[in-house]
Amino acid sequence: MNPPLGSPEPRTYSEPMRPPQPAVGQSPQPVRQIAISVEGLNLWYGKNQALFDVSLGFPARSVTAIIGPSGCGKSTLLRTLNRMHEVTPGTRMTGRVRLFGDDLYRSGMDPTILRRRVGMIFQKSNPFPTLSVRENVLVGLRLNGVRDKEVLRERLEECLRMAALWDEVKDNLNRPGISLSGGQQQRLCIARAIAMRPEVLLMDEPSSALDPIATARIEELVHELKETFTIVIVTHNMQQAARVSDHTAFMYLGRLIEMGTTQKIFQRPEHRQTEEYITGRFG
C-alpha cells in the first residue's frame, strides 16, 4: 500500500515543515532513519522519579515495542514523546527528545502542533460520546479549520480504510462512535489519530482491554500501518511484542535495561533481568 498519505496535497491548516523522509522501498537495503531519539531523559512526578537517564532511538517506519513490568515507566516514557506528560500537574523533566532532529522541548515548539505530528492511541478506547463515527474521524481536522467538504470526505474514507474499519461502518457513518464494539472503537480511535497525518503513532497498550480476536485485528493493523508511520507500542503482552515489533526496548524500575531487534531481545538478551522477564520469572 503506497499511501495516498504521501501525496503532496495542499494543506488547509498549517503543519510544520517535515524533514525529507526516504520513500519506502527506494533503496533495496534502506538505512533506517531514527524518527525519535531520546537522550538522557529523567522525569519526576513531584518528588518521585519515574524515569532515570533513558536514552534510545525509535527507527522510522517500523514498530518498536516497549515492554516491562507494570509501573516501570513505559507509559511515562511514551507520553514524553508528544509532551502529553505535561498535562499531569507536577511533572518535571530533564533531557532531550528529538523528532527527526527537531528538539521537542525547545522554546517555541508548540505542543499542540507537535501532537499533530505525533499521534496517540490510549489503552481505553475513547471515541467522543456525542459524535458520530464520521465526526469522530474528522474532529481533529474540523477543529483545526479544515472546511473543504471534498477533502473531509476523502480523508474520512482513506482513514477508515487504513484503520480496517471502512467495510464495517461505511453504511452507517452517522451512528454514534460509542455504539461500535470495543475493537471497532479502538480502530475508530486509530482512524481519528491518523486523520491528522501524523509521522509517529504512539500506542499505550492499545489492545489490553480487547478480546483475542479484536486484539489480532489490531496487531494486523499495526503491521500494515508501519508502512506509513513510525509506531511505538507499549505492551505488557510479550507475545504481542514478539509478533508485531521490529525492535523491543525492555524497561525496569524507570530505567532502560536493553534495546535491540525484537529477535535478539527475545532470543539472545544481553541482560539477566531481560531474560528473566521474558521467560516469565518475574513481572
Binding site: N82, M84, V87, T112, I113, L114, R115, R116, R117, G119, M120, F122, K124, N126, F128, P129, T130, V139, G140, L143, N144, C189, R192, A193, M196
Partner: protein, 291 residues
C-alpha cells in the same frame, strides 16, 4: 441437663429475635412516616390550590390584565408575561456567567482557587433572597431613579449565578478526563476542546442545571419587591416597573377583595404548575443516557 440448658438458650434467642424484629419494624415505620411527611405537604398544597384556584383559571386569567380594584373579572396576563420576561432576562444574564465560571473552575483554575470559589458560591446560595433585593435596589434602582424590569432581572440573575455555577461544575467534572486527553493528543487547541468536546459532552447536564435554577428563582418574591416592584398594567419595557406572578399573587392575597383572593389562588396554581413542569423536563432530560 444439657438439653434443658440448650432449650433455655433457644428461648432466650427467640426472645432476642422478637425484640430485634420489633426494633427493625419500628425503624421502618418511622422512615415511612418521615417520607410521608415529605410528600404530604406537596399533595396538600396541590389539592388546596386546585380546590381554591382551579375555578378561576380560565381564558380571561391568561388574556386579561387586572380589572380595577374591587370590580370582578380581569386576569394576570401581564404578570405571566412579566414573569416570563424577567426569567428570560435573568437567564440570559446569569446562566452564561454561571456556566463560564464553572468552565473556569473545572478546566482552568488550580484546585485551591476552585475550592475557594466553590465555597463563596455556596455562601452566596445561602444568602436570604431579600438581601439581593436590597442590594440591587441600592446599585440599580436608585441610580436609575425607579423600579424596573432590568433591576428585577439583575436581582434574579445574581441568585442564578452560583446555582448554575455549582451544577455546571459538577457535570463538567463528570466528563471523563480521557476525552480531554484524546482531544489534546489530536493537537486540538485547549479552548476548542473545552467548547466542542467537554461542554458538548456535558450539554444535557448544563441545560438541566440551568432549568433547575430557573425553577428555583421563578417563585422568588422578595428580590422583586424593591426592584421589579410589580405593575397592574401592561409593561414589557426594560426601564419601568413590571408585573410578576409572585408579586401579583402577593398583592392580590393581601387585598380586601374576594375576587382578587380567588385570582391569587389561581396565580399560585399556575406558578406551581410552571415549576412542576420545569422539574418534569429536568427529569426527562436526565433520564436519557448522555450526561
Amino acid at each position: 441437663m444439657t438439653t434443658v440448658e440448650a432449650s433455655g438458650r433457644r428461648l432466650e434467642d427467640q426472645h432476642q429475635h422478637r425484640w430485634r424484629r420489633f426494633k427493625s419494624g419500628a425503624m421502618s415505620a418511622l422512615a415511612v412516616l418521615s417520607a410521608a411527611a415529605v410528600i404530604l405537604p406537596l399533595g396538600f398544597v396541590l389539592f388546596h390550590l386546585l380546590l381554591q384556584g382551579a375555578s378561576s383559571v380560565n381564558v380571561d386569567f391568561f388574556t386579561r390584565t387586572p380589572a380595577a380594584p374591587g370590580s370582578p373579572g380581569g386576569g394576570m396576563a401581564n404578570a405571566i408575561a412579566g414573569s416570563a420576561e424577567l426569567l428570560a432576562l435573568a437567564t440570559a444574564l446569569g446562566a452564561p456567567i454561571g456556566v463560564l465560571g464553572a468552565i473556569y473552575l473545572s478546566e482552568y483554575s488550580s484546585p485551591a482557587v476552585a475550592a475557594s470559589i466553590r465555597f463563596v458560591a455556596d455562601v452566596l446560595n445561602g444568602v436570604p433572597s431579600i438581601i439581593w433585593g436590597v442590594l440591587v435596589f441600592g446599585v440599580v434602582v436608585v441610580p436609575m431613579h425607579g423600579f424596573s424590569t432590568l433591576a428585577g432581572a439583575v436581582a434574579l440573575a445574581i441568585m442564578m449565578i452560583p446555582l448554575v455555577l455549582r451544577t455546571t461544575e459538577e457535570v463538567l467534572l463528570l466528563v471523563p478526563g480521557g476525552y480531554r486527553e484524546a482531544a489534546l493528543a489530536l493537537g486540538i487547541a485547549r479552548w476548542k476542546i473545552v467548547v466542542h468536546i467537554v461542554v458538548r459532552t456535558a450539554s444535557r447536564g448544563i441545560v438541566t442545571g440551568v432549568l433547575l435554577a430557573v425553577a428555583r428563582i421563578s417563585g422568588e418574591t422578595a428580590p422583586l419587591l424593591f426592584t421589579a416592584f410589580g405593575n397592574l398594567n401592561w409593561n414589557l419595557g426594560l426601564t419601568q416597573p413590571i408585573a410578576a406572578l409572585p408579586l401579583q399573587i402577593y398583592t392580590y392575597a393581601v387585598s380586601p377583595y374576594e375576587d382578587w383572593h380567588r385570582q391569587a389562588w389561581a396565580g399560585a396554581l399556575v406558578l406551581i404548575s410552571l415549576i412542576f413542569l420545569l422539574n418534569l423536563s429536568v427529569r426527562f432530560l436526565t433520564r436519557a443516557k448522555r450526561l
